[in-house]
């Protein structure tokens, strides 16, 4: 609470909260990257970008679970209210970590291609009707947009200007956002990763969030239904005055209206609405501190006798008429306009109770009251310190487990050094280089980024003796060369150079099977052979589609029981490029039927549109 708007009204508790939060995020990301690096090393290593974006994504998802669990947990145990006090900072950090994940994933999977990365994010994969190919990225974009809206309006300035009701309604969008993110994970990561741990963790998180909210909602619904009996048409018997601890309230439901908080302050009884004007916090769970009812959520204050915040604040809440007869409190359930002064009802202790009046009794066990700008009560701190340590341990443990059980990306390598080869270049259907020898070897050629090399090869000419320079990518015996930029990436050989190249013996085309069905995954070989690790699976689908639509030759990869991989170059029935034909199925598990041929060291599968389908 402050008179002027400030970015953050810092106090010791907020600093501690944010320090633990920051430590948790750093610990999570560091553990994830460290365990990922130690588990998957050398040629089996995952790309640094993949490790980081996975660390950030899973961290944001975990943070959102914590955000969503705090509300119901604080309703079940008041001593967890300090977790709620600064929850908006947790929400903003969740957005920032999620935004970093989104930015990295967009740049990595959708950058370097023929489309603007933001356009590619929404336009490359549009197969919304398919469960297997569903573009899960769109769900993440929607969720991130809502989280941005919530983070941007999280300050009290926006709450004041939007009105508490509109602000609250806007921030209730966190629940649909959570649903969007569960689906984003379910149709993205869970369809790429094979470890049951991922399914178990996602299921556990979802069940916990749903279970806590349903349990809290059910409890509140039952409380709303328990209406106290009426002594007459307009007065409700709330109960004995000495049942209400000093400076505390009894919360009552009255008919179909809002709950009422009946406070006792010494020998006086007052009643106000249970709804705080700030964020609709439960005032009846607050306490009278320095003569003011103090909301347990964010410490907003109101005078019990008129429902007005002390000057210079101007907030007002509804008050109620109340009277005490024979030690019992009676409430008129008709709310008075906010800020209406009501004379507190005087409560005279009965003589029998004088020996141990509740007003003189020490606060009952568990009656400690936390609010951020006051020192934290000792018992609350005793609970919260282990909870903070537990949360940090959960963060580190989850990070380590998720990083360790990532899917094996396979052994692939992208050489750093530039290599030079002489050979004969072939253009259609895909650019490739035949290197003379016994037997001759074949290198697929691609350009930098997510582009094929067709144009560059066309400029040199089909079946020309050339010298190519570039970086090699290879996996399980299959190799590909990314041509270096500039004219020396590929150039025709001069007469003298040609003489040094042995003649290329014509490779005989061999038909292995007229019709064969092969089950595997359609990949873009550049990513799969080492440009990205992993370079396959659902999470990589949009990137693979961008590569194949940019001219990189599509291949089908199969794996045998010993995890050895076989690669088939996919061409159309008449031997043309099959990029457009197979584009919707790139990144999917498919079965492809067609004629199988061997051309030198290349296996070629001629497919038709009807011959390719998801399995």
């Amino acid at each position: 609470v402050s008179v002027r708007y400030a970015a953050v009204n810092w106090n010791r508790n907020k600093r501690l909260y944010d320090a633990v939060l920051g430590a948790g995020v750093v610990l999570y990301v560091a553990f994830f990257v460290l365990v990922g690096k130690l588990t998957w090393r050398g040629d089996s290593g995952l790309s640094d970008e993949v490790l980081l974006l996975r660390a950030l994504g899973t961290c944001a998802f975990l943070l959102l679970h914590v955000v969503l669990c705090i509300g119901p947990l604080a309703r079940f145990n008041r001593r967890l209210l300090p977790l709620l006090y600064n929850r908006r900072h947790l929400g903003v950090v969740t957005f920032l970590v999620g935004a970093a994940h989104g930015a990295l994933a967009t740049g990595y999977y959708h950058g370097f291609g023929r489309l603007n990365p933001l356009v590619s994010l929404l336009a490359t994969n549009t197969q919304y009707a398919s469960l297997a190919a569903f573009p899960f990225e769109t769900l993440g974009v929607l969720a991130l947009a809502i989280l941005f809206l919530m983070a941007a309006t999280s300050h009290d300035f926006w709450q004041k200007n939007l009105s508490p009701s509109a602000w609250k309604a806007l921030h209730m969008l966190v629940y649909p956002t959570y649903a969007l993110l569960v689906l984003h994970v379910a149709f993205g990561a869970l369809r790429s990763e094979t470890s049951p741990l991922y399914v178990a963790l996602a299921g556990l998180g979802t069940v916990t969030v749903i279970g806590l909210h349903l349990a809290a909602g059910w409890r509140e619904w039952r409380r709303d239904r328990s209406v106290p009996r009426r002594s007459s048409e307009c007065w409700v018997d709330v109960g004995a005055a000495d049942e209400i601890p000093d400076s505390r309230a009894k919360v009552v439901s009255v008919g179909g209206g809002e709950r009422v908080a009946v406070f006792r302050h010494g020998d006086q009884v007052s009643a106000v609405t249970n709804v705080c004007a700030h964020q609709r916090g439960p005032l009846g769970e607050g306490k009278i501190v320095n003569g003011c009812i103090t909301c347990p959520w964010h410490g907003w204050e109101y005078r019990p006798e008129n429902g007005c915040s002390p000057p210079p604040f101007a907030e007002r809440i509804a008050t109620y008429r109340v009277r005490v007869e024979g030690g019992r409190v009676f409430l008129n359930p008709e709310p008075l306009p906010p800020g209406t002064p009501v004379e507190p009802a005087a409560w005279r202790r009965l003589p029998m109770a004088d020996s141990s009046p509740s007003s003189n009794r020490p606060a009952p066990e568990g009656d400690e009251f936390f609010i951020g700008w006051l020192p934290m009560p000792r018992r609350t701190a005793r609970l919260l310190h282990p909870v903070a340590v537990l949360l940090l341990l959960i963060a580190a443990g989850t990070a380590a487990a998720v990083a360790y059980y990532q899917r094996d990306p396979g052994v692939a390598r992208w050489e750093e050094k530039v290599t030079t080869f002489d050979g004969v270049v072939f253009a259609p259907p895909y650019p490739l280089l035949r290197i003379p020898g016994d037997p001759p070897r074949t290198l697929l050629l691609v350009s930098e980024g997510k582009f094929g090399a067709a144009r560059r090869v066309e400029q040199v000419g089909d079946r020309r003796a050339v010298r190519v320079r570039g970086t090699l990518l290879h996996r399980d015996g299959r190799a590909l060369l990314e041509l270096a930029e500039g004219d020396d990436g590929i150039r025709p050989l001069g007469p003298e150079e040609k003489r040094r190249v042995p003649p290329l013996k014509g490779a005989e085309l061999q038909i292995l099977a007229e019709s064969v069905t092969i089950r595997g995954e359609i990949i873009d070989p550049k990513c799969y052979l080492g440009a990205m690790k992993p370079g396959g699976g659902k999470a990589h689908k949009a990137c693979a589609m961008l590569c194949v639509s940019g001219g990189i030759p599509p291949m089908l990869v199969t794996r045998d029981a010993d995890r050895r991989e076989t690669f088939y170059l996919l061409v159309t029935e008449d031997g043309g490029a099959a990029n457009e034909l197979v584009l919707p199925f790139v990144g999917d598990a498919v079965k492809a039927t067609g004629r199988l041929e061997r051309d030198g060291d290349l296996l070629i599968l001629r497919v038709t549109a009807s011959g390719v389908g998801r399995r």
Partner: protein
């Protein structure tokens, strides 16, 4: 929290719970199983590194 908010909150979670459970189940249960079905053809290695030209 206001009464309407509490009601809205409970109804929303009663709606979200089965939807999320169904979506999670659909996404997980329809995952393609790894298959090792491929024709028995040998694939010769194509890595031509040993034949690299040293200009």
């Amino acid at each position: 929290m206001t009464r309407s908010h509490r009601r809205w909150h409970l109804r929303l979670w009663l709606l979200l719970a089965p939807l999320l459970a169904a979506a999670l189940a659909a996404a997980v249960l329809t995952r393609p199983r790894p298959e090792y079905e491929a024709p028995r053809v040998s694939q010769e290695p194509t890595n031509p590194t040993p034949r690299e030209v040293q200009p």
